[in-house]
Subunit: 393 residues, 2 copies
Amino acid sequence: MIYSEKELASLESFYSNQLLNSTIPFWFPRSYDQEHGGYLLMRDADGSLIDDDKAVWIQGRATWMLSTLYNTVEQKAEWLEGAKLGYDFLNQHCFDADGQMFFHVTREGKPIRKRRYFFSETFYVIAAAAYAKASGDETAAANARRVFDLCIQYATTPGLLQPKYTNTRPSKGIGVPMIMMNTAQQLRETIGYAPCDEWISKWIHEIETSFVKDDIACVMEQVAPDGSIIDHIDGRTLNPGHAMEGAWFILHEAKYRNNDPHLIDLGCRMLDYMWERGWDKEYGGILYFRDVYNKPVQEYWQDMKFWWPHNEVIIATLLAYLMTGKEKYASWHKMVHDYSYKHFLDPEYGEWFGYLHRDGTIAQTAKGNLYKCPFHLPRQEWYCMQILKSYLS
Amino acid sequence: MIYSEKELASLESFYSNQLLNSTIPFWFPRSYDQEHGGYLLMRDADGSLIDDDKAVWIQGRATWMLSTLYNTVEQKAEWLEGAKLGYDFLNQHCFDADGQMFFHVTREGKPIRKRRYFFSETFYVIAAAAYAKASGDETAAANARRVFDLCIQYATTPGLLQPKYTNTRPSKGIGVPMIMMNTAQQLRETIGYAPCDEWISKWIHEIETSFVKDDIACVMEQVAPDGSIIDHIDGRTLNPGHAMEGAWFILHEAKYRNNDPHLIDLGCRMLDYMWERGWDKEYGGILYFRDVYNKPVQEYWQDMKFWWPHNEVIIATLLAYLMTGKEKYASWHKMVHDYSYKHFLDPEYGEWFGYLHRDGTIAQTAKGNLYKCPFHLPRQEWYCMQILKSYLS
């Protein structure tokens, strides 16, 4: 199948309508914490609050989302004021004395937990960068660049962060080059930062040479430092939705680089390999984890359907289709789009449920918790709306 | 319903037959690692090896199980030799230089991961104690008592182990008094150790006064230091199968203490409260996690059916029935027994699958991995066989 211009226009207005009339209004303005700053985002299906704690990743991601809507969709004062609440909360409460960020704080901003990786920091970078662009706040821009440099240090200096494992079986994950690539892309496209292009090229090279395995048609989630497969449970575990998110980060870069054919080919190979491994041919939807050799996986929720891989695959397939015109990508996009909006969308209160059983039934009703928040879904609806708009214009 | 003597005798021979002709032969002797010591226990449904790594908990648990079979069922040389393989591996490879144990090592015994709690140590204690009884090895007995004392130190000295959370919202879990109670019971019933009775009384008091909530008919998994409920996602999360395991540890203690009526009442209350919250009235089986106020839970596998809560509830309901004669416990035992042997048992290769979806379908085929091993199922079959034997004799 292919999408006609009319179908693409109708998709564009579907995503725009969902974003602005279902997803964003579910969260805002009611989640603004006018008393303590930041956002109250742990909510049940009907929007009632489950917990008033604040997950730091999520304070950053919501700040980014609100700033980005302000920067690209409409300069609504409510969005900019909301973004400032999150940005200020991050600065006031989410950094430890050693410069690392916390993972989880109380409503008032007292620390509950710090973790041994730096994803809170990468979300701070995109939040501060997008907020700097929205507000014109030069300190925010400087903070974004400074914490980005810190992330580079964490990513490139072994032992700087306390390790979770010994050195007996060293490994590296695709998560670091992926998130750093996306962080650099955001930084570049909001406030600009000279080192970004070179770093992005390095991380793409790292993904291509270490994680993408053409001989077995697979993108690994974790490999040995030399890129070889670690034949143990953890080393064999694939995360198809995550790898397909990586595919669209690379397609996005290909687009930025005047449709660089090598990057288009790389992104499409990653998508092809992991669609085949991730799409559930029995029930539809994207399986969470798979073993590279089809053995059992350790993680218990391995065959559940989570919201976010579906958001990432909706973007990846649509972008691949628009950039290549290949029919299979339109078919895949339609399959994952139809599955997702049929199974995850809550027709009563808006937004998506987060967690389905393999067979598509709802496993639990949370709309927001320590990990789920206004990020993957609104980002997908916003990104798809933007690329369709630019394609149709 | 009640169980007739004949039905109890038939249950006894069912458990004995399952234990000795299905469960144990699935694992041993093929899992003995004659080359590097210890056991190779990460296996798929058909027994094929998924991974040759060794989880330290599990090396200890399997050593305990083999020693216990030797001590109580039959003095088979194969079991004692197998126990020695595990006991020696634990001593040679599983302790770090600081005296703490690792969590996960390679086949050769090189450390992969150490965790911030001391469950590896408690399983070492029961392994060394049971092995000391089986072998007459006095050093093993001394090691069991020494590491038990160390566990007491870890459990009672705040800050001795590196904490995972800050001090902003202090909490304590039922896991520590539960596992320490069971460890002390094992120690007492194998090689004996004078301090055990007093510690067991303290931990039961701790469970009763801090975790058992009669006003809301609930056993909490985590509370504030003063025993109050922490009204956040983690603090509200219940683990019904775990609490019912605690119930039978207390009933076991009641039996040891000449059917102490207070302890029988406490164990039965815990069982009553958590059966009501854990039994799935729609599909049968024990739900993994529940929220005390029925809100959504953070953990993704919250409504899956895992093998081990079923083992613990089979023991708890049978023991409660034999100790009180109350009909409801026979009914509950029959419900959980029938559900479990219908859904978890693998009729082709023996042993149980570990992970079912809420509706009872099999989520994945592993028989052994980092957590599943020859422990909960053979312990259940062995324990039920023993109490039925003693009841029928």
